[in-house]
C-alpha cells in the first residue's frame, strides 16, 4: 500500500515515486496524530498522549532505509515510529482506545505500541532504556547470522541517561549493527537542550565511543533517509554502529496537558515554517523535470485509512476481565 512503509526505498537519490511515498507516510503520521488528539479531547482515548507531530521526517526517513525484518525500538512517543515501520493504524488506534484488538491487546497503551511482526518492539517508555535493548537485538542478529539491523529511536533528553552511555559503548566495542537515532527536538519535557548539555550537538558524543556521529536536518526526510541509509549500510556490512542526530521540533505539547508556556512563540513559529511536510512538498516540487504536486489525493487516501482504523477500533471490544491476569508469562505464539 505504501512504499515507504514497505521499507523498500534503498536509493539515496529518491525519485518522484519515492518522495511521494515518503510524503504519504509522513502525512499518515500527521493526520493520525491529529485525530488521536481530537479523540483524546473527546475522551475516546484515555490516559495521556505524546504526539509525534513535527517529527515525522525522522521516523519516515529512517524506516524507509530499513528492511522489513530490521528492528525498531520506539519511545514514549512511539506512534510515528510504529506507523513508519509499517504497523497498521488499526492496531495502533485500537491499542490507544484500550481494545483487545490493539497491538498490545489493550494492555500496553500509547506508550508501549509496537508489533513484533513488523519488527517493532513494544515501545519503551523509560527514557533511555530502549537503547541497550536495541543493541541486544543487534547482537542477536549477528549471533544468529542474519544481517538484520536494529534502530533505537530516542529523544535528545535520553542522551543524558546512563543506559544511553552504556549502550553506545558496548555497541561500539562489539561493532554491533545498530543505529542510535537521536531526535533532538530541543526539549526533554519542558527542559531546553541548552540546560541539559554543555555541548552544541548530541552527535559530538560519538567521539567518546569511537563511532561516527552525524547531525542532519531532521525535518528534511531526504536528508534523514540518506544519512540513515549510509548508517544502515555501515551496520549491515559489519562496520558498526552510528549515532545519528536529527534536528527537529515537537510542534505540540510534551503530553496531553502541556500548554508549552516555556517555549517562545517565535521559536514555535520558526519551526512550523520548517514543517517537514512543507519541506518534503518543496522537495517534490523541486524535482527536475518539475512535477506538479497536488497532495489532495494522498490526503483523501490517508483520511480513509485513518477512518477505517478508528472504525475498527471503535467496533472492537475491550479486553475481557480474564485478560487482566493473562500474559504475565509467555503463553505461546
Amino acid at each position: 500500500m505504501n512504499a515507504a512503509n514497505a521499507n523498500g526505498l534503498q536509493s539515496s537519490v529518491p525519485g518522484e515515486a519515492d518522495l511521494i511515498a515518503l510524503y504519504r507516510t509522513m502525512l499518515l503520521i500527521r493526520r493520525f496524530e491529529e485525530r488521536c488528539n481530537a479523540l483524546f479531547l473527546q475522551g475516546r482515548i484515555p490516559s495521556t498522549l505524546h504526539l509525534y507531530i513535527g517529527q515525522e521526517a525522522v521516523a519516515t526517513g529512517v524506516c524507509s532505509a530499513l528492511r522489513a525484518d530490521d528492528w525498531v525500538v520506539g519511545t514514549h512517543r512511539p506512534h510515528g515510529h510504529a506507523l513508519a515501520k509499517g504497523v497498521s493504524p488499526r492496531v495502533i488506534m485500537a491499542e490507544l482506545m484500550a481494545k483487545v484488538t490493539g497491538c498490545c491487546r489493550g494492555k500496553g497503551g500509547s506508550m508501549h505500541v509496537g508489533d513484533v511482526r513488523k519488527g517493532v518492539f513494544p515501545a519503551v517508555a523509560i527514557v533511555g532504556a530502549g537503547l541497550p535493548i536495541a543493541a541486544g537485538a543487534a547482537l542477536s542478529a549477528r549471533m544468529r547470522g542474519t544481517d538484520q539491523v536494529a534502530v533505537a529511536f530516542h529523544g535528545e533528553g535520553a542522551a543524558n541517561e546512563g543506559d544511553w552511555h552504556e549502550a553506545l559503548n558496548m555497541a561500539a566495542i562489539w561493532k554491533l549493527p545498530v543505529l542510535f537515532v537521536c531526535e533532538n527536538n530541543l526539549y526533554g519535557a519542558s527542559t531546553h537542550f541548552s540546560k541539559a548539555f554543555a555541548i552544541p550537538r548530541v552527535s559530538d558524543r560519538a567521539c567518546a565511543y569511537g563511532m561516527p556521529g552525524e547531525t542532519v536536518d531532521g525535518n528534511d526526510v531526504v536528508a534523514v533517509h540518506d544519512a540513515a541509509l549510509r548508517a544502515v549500510e555501515r551496520a549491515r556490512s559489519g562496520a558498526g554502529p552510528t549515532l545519528l542526530e536529527c534536528l527537529t521540533y515537537r510542534q505540540c505539547g510534551h503530553s496531553r496537558s502541556d500548554a508549552c508556556d516555556y517555549r517562545p512563540d517565535e521559536e514555535e513559529a520558526l519551526w512550523k515554517e520548517r514543517d517537514p511536510l512543507k519541506v518534503a512538498a518543496a522537495r517534490i516540487r523541486a524535482l527536475v523535470p518539475p512535477v506538479p504536486f497536488d497532495p489532495s489525493g494522498i490526503e483523501a487516501d490517508v483520511a480513509a485509512e485513518i477512518d477505517d482504523a478508528i472504525a475498527f477500533a471503535e467496533e472492537s471490544p475491550a479486553p475481557a476481565p480474564e485478560d487482566l491476569e493473562r500474559h504475565v508469562y509467555w503463553e505461546g505464539d
Partner: protein, 338 residues
C-alpha cells in the same frame, strides 16, 4: 487555617522549609522551568520565582545521577528534596537509594548522615506498566531508609516537614489520584482529599499512625488511596452493623505497630488493603506481623486485599479490576466477620 489539596500542601511545606533553612533545596526534572509544570504533578509550581533556579534545580534526565548528587550534597551540609516524575523511575536510581543513601551511615559506623528527602508519585492512572506501579515495599525493605505515605493534605505537609528535618534519607510516596492538582494537570478519577492545613508551623512525626475511623469489629489497614477505599467500605459495612476500625499508618518505616496491634486486640479481625501486587507486597509484612504478634487475639486469618500479581494494565476496565475496589474490601470483611 487554609483549605487545600495534597499538591498544594506539599508546596507550602517545601516553601516554609526553604524559607526556614537555607540548606534546603529541591532537585529533579522539570521542577523549576519557567512556564513549566512544577514537576509532573505541580508540587513545585512557582517555587522557582521565590527561590531561583539554584535552589529549585532542574536536572537533565539522569535519575541515578541526580540522586547521587543529592546524596553527596546531603552528606556535606545540605538538605535536598529530590523527586522523580513517576515512582516507577525509582528503579533507575535503585543503586543510589539502596546501596548508597540507605547504607552510608551504617557502613561509616555512624560517622555521616544523609538528610535526603526523595518524593515519588505512585498509583494506577491509566498510564500502563511503566507509569503506574505502587512500589513502596521495595523501599520499606531497605534498612536505613524511612518511608512515609501521606493520604491527607494535613499529613502531607506535616510529614514533608518532618522528613526535611530528619537526619536520614526519607522516601515520601504520594498518590497521583490524591494530589488534587488543579487545571490541566488534574487527574481523571481523582479523590482530591481537600483538607484543612494550619498556617502555623507543625510536623507530623514520622512513625505515628492515624485511626481514620473507630470501630470494634474489624481492623482495616490501608495506605494512600486504599485508605479511602477502606473508609468507603467501612461506611457500607456500617449499614449492616459491622463497625470497622480504619488505620492509616502514614509512616511505613518506622511503622506504628502498636496502633495496629492494639486495634487487632480489640477487634480480633484484620484486613490489609493495598494497591500493590499481592505476593511479597507491603501487606505481607503487616499480615505476618499481626499473625506473629497478635496470634492469640485473632478470631480468623489475617486477610489481604490487593492487586493481582500482574503489571498495571493500561485498559481502564482492567485497571478497575486491578486496584482493590470498595466492593472487594466489603466482601473480604464480610467473609471474615460472617
Amino acid at each position: 487555617m487554609a483549605t487545600m489539596g495534597i499538591a498544594e500542601a506539599l508546596r507550602e511545606g517545601i516553601r516554609e522549609e526553604m524559607r526556614r533553612d537555607p540548606t534546603v533545596f529541591c532537585i529533579g526534572e522539570d521542577i523549576g522551568v519557567k512556564g513549566g509544570w512544577g514537576g509532573a504533578f505541580t508540587v513545585t509550581l512557582g517555587l522557582v520565582d521565590e527561590f531561583g533556579p539554584e535552589r529549585i534545580l532542574d536536572t537533565p534526565i539522569s535519575e541515578s545521577g541526580f540522586c547521587g548528587i543529592a546524596i553527596g550534597a546531603a552528606m556535606t551540609g545540605m538538605r535536598p528534596i529530590a523527586d522523580v516524575q513517576y515512582g516507577d523511575f525509582l528503579f533507575c536510581m535503585m543503586d543510589q537509594l539502596a546501596n548508597q543513601a540507605a547504607k552510608m551511615t551504617y557502613m561509616a559506623g555512624g560517622a555521616v548522615k544523609v538528610p535526603l528527602v526523595m518524593r515519588a508519585p505512585v498509583g494506577s492512572t491509566r498510564r500502563g506498566a511503566q507509569h503506574a506501579q505502587t512500589l513502596e515495599v521495595f523501599f520499606t525493605h531497605i534498612p536505613g531508609l524511612k518511608v512515609v505515605a501521606p493520604s491527607t493534605a494535613y499529613d502531607a505537609k506535616g510529614l514533608l516537614k518532618a522528613a526535611v528535618r530528619d537526619d536520614n534519607p526519607v522516601l515520601m510516596f504520594e498518590h497521583k489520584l490524591l494530589y488534587g492538582s488543579k487545571g490541566n494537570r488534574a487527574e481523571k478519577g481523582a479523590v482530591s482529599p481537600i483538607g484543612e492545613v494550619p498556617d502555623e508551623d507543625y510536623v507530623v512525626p514520622i512513625g505515628k499512625g492515624a485511626i481514620r475511623r473507630k470501630g470494634r469489629d474489624v481492623t482495616i489497614v490501608g495506605k494512600l488511596l486504599t485508605v479511602y477505599r477502606a473508609l468507603a467500605a467501612a461506611d457500607r459495612l456500617a449499614e449492616d452493623g459491622i463497625e470497622a476500625e480504619v488505620i492509616d499508618p502514614r509512616s511505613l518505616i518506622p511503622l506504628d505497630k502498636e496502633m495496629i496491634l492494639e486495634s487487632v486486640r480489640k477487634t480480633h479481625r484484620f484486613v490489609v488493603v493495598e494497591e500493590d501486587n499481592r505476593t511479597h507486597g507491603w501487606g505481607a509484612e503487616i499480615a505476618a506481623m499481626v499473625a506473629e504478634e497478635a496470634f492469640w487475639w485473632l478470631d480468623g486469618p489475617p486477610v489481604r486485599v490487593s492487586a493481582p500479581d500482574t503489571p498495571p494494565p493500561f485498559a481502564p476496565n482492567l485497571e478497575e479490576l486491578y486496584v482493590p475496589s470498595v466492593e472487594r474490601v466489603v466482601d473480604a470483611v464480610r467473609r471474615l466477620v460472617g
